[in-house]
């Protein structure tokens, strides 16, 4: 009975801790959104973050998309050939990349790169009293640090994913025409023919949501980082893990919404 009670207590406290974390994250997110619409605005910070989050993530997103598109073409071909449906390769590569793999894999890769970087930066600022210094200089850290990062990531992710989708389709095209013997014109024609506007908009909408999640998790964990190097390290891990899990969960919810 004692062991059972202990187990229940442990489960109860974990559930409470989880609920309290969710509550804190929601309040933090609402606060960040509020600061996005209330002046003063730090346009220069937003531009700088667009470069940091968007431009410098292009190589990692591009390479991920290229190899994913290429592998996808091979996999679909090897499945399709079993019931003489090889011709669907171009359209499924395109739809798969645009609706699902582009935003999700792009999101996960950017989460690894950007959430960790934001959490480490803000965590270090917390530990070295730079956040307190900002307050004493009459500057709200939520407005100066969090809001520009959240806005920049929400804008940058759809752009990154659009570029990634294109490169992913190119990866499929290169494998399709170079390795699987597709005719170049037919491949491109099939890619375009079966694509609908909703495929593209749903993928880009997902990307915007993932961008918001990535920056929010980085900022939340960095802003509330514990003391010392260990605190910053933990904040960084938590940022990447929570951003990744939330991206996958949000992906399911959004896919249901766009289904």
């Amino acid at each position: 009975m004692k062991v059972f009670n202990k187990l229940l207590r442990s489960i109860g406290s974990s559930v409470l801790a989880f609920c309290s974390s969710v509550g804190r994250i929601v309040i933090f997110a609402l606060n960040a959104i509020l600061h996005l619409v209330r002046p003063p605005f730090y346009g220069r910070e937003v531009l700088s973050q667009l470069m940091q989050i968007g431009f410098y993530s292009l190589p990692v997103v591009g390479l991920t998309a290229l190899f994913t598109g290429a592998a996808l073409a091979l996999q679909i071909y090897s499945g399709g050939v079993r019931f003489s449906a090889e011709s669907v390769v171009p359209s499924i590569v395109a739809i798969g990349m645009v609706r699902e793999l582009g935003p999700v894999l792009g999101g996960l890769m950017v989460a690894g790169r950007v959430s960790s970087s934001i959490a480490a930066e803000l965590g270090t600022m917390r530990v070295t009293e730079q956040l307190d210094a900002l307050v004493t200089l009459s500057t709200d850290p939520m407005k100066y640090l969090v809001a520009p990062r959240v806005l920049a990531a929400t804008i940058a992710m759809p752009i990154l994913v659009a570029v990634g989708d294109t490169i992913g389709i190119l990866g499929g095209y290169l494998v399709g025409t170079g390795r699987l013997g597709f005719n170049s014109n037919n491949y491109l024609q099939n890619t375009v023919d079966f694509m609908e506007l909703e495929d593209i908009t749903s993928g880009l909408a997902k990307a915007a949501v993932f961008g918001f999640i990535i920056a929010l998790m980085g900022c939340y964990h960095g802003y509330n980082s514990g003391r010392g190097a260990q605190g910053v390290g933990k904040a960084t891990i938590n940022a990447v893990v929570s951003a990744s899990v939330m991206i996958l969960a949000a992906n399911y919810v959004l896919t249901e919404a766009f289904f």
């Binding site: 003063p40 270090t124 600022m125 070295t128 009293e129 730079q130 307190d132 210094a133 900002l134 307050v135 004493t136 200089l137 009459s138 500057t139 100066y144």
Partner: protein, 248 residues
Amino acid sequence: MITVQNLHKKFAANTVLNGIDMQIEKGQSMAIIGGSGTGKSVLLKCILGLETHDSGKIFINGEESSKLDKNKFLSNFGMLFQNAALFDSLSVWKNVAFRLTQGPNKIPEKQAKDIAIEKLRRVGLTPDVGDKFPAELSGGMQKRVGLARAIAANPEIIFFDEPTTGLDPIMSGVINELIREIVVEMGATAMTITHDMSSVRAIADKVIMLHNGRVQWSGDIKELEKSQNPYLNQFLKGNAEGPIEAVR
């Protein structure tokens, strides 16, 4: 003038401030001394609004701090942090001019840079330091930059949190002298938190000693050495034996 009345602050079950009463007159330089964990930094953070106190009142120039507009309230303050807390991503001059280039009262960048360079000169740094980044500076230079940032907007009140921590005795002396000169020159009200008695003797007009979240002793700097207060004497002499329990 800063007035603190019956200030209390707890972190979970740990009472850090247990009814602090103190007053710093306009233009006065007050040093707050005490062992580690006696609530000195928490007191400073409560006055600045970086921590919320549980009960008690803080008045700045006669007005209760919690009722003042935060930005207006903070515009009266300058603060030198223990490790300078310079923004790594900004150049030195941008650090110094930070307050001048943000918010509703911001001034043109060129003008802000000129002021920053002037303040850097005031703390003994050459203009070329302005274009460097904090990571390129020594600890002493970072403290000077922090000091320049604290005085950039000519605040009425300046706080110094352990201004000489991590510096060699000569550099500590230089920083102490600079602080004293600047405070006198600006006519600012100053509050310094420190363990370093040479800082206290160089900077302070008045001293408060905190222990167990309470004011154990307060008085004029001239009375410091003559005091018979056992807590203060133990602290000044650095004795392990006395009313302050030392963990060995």
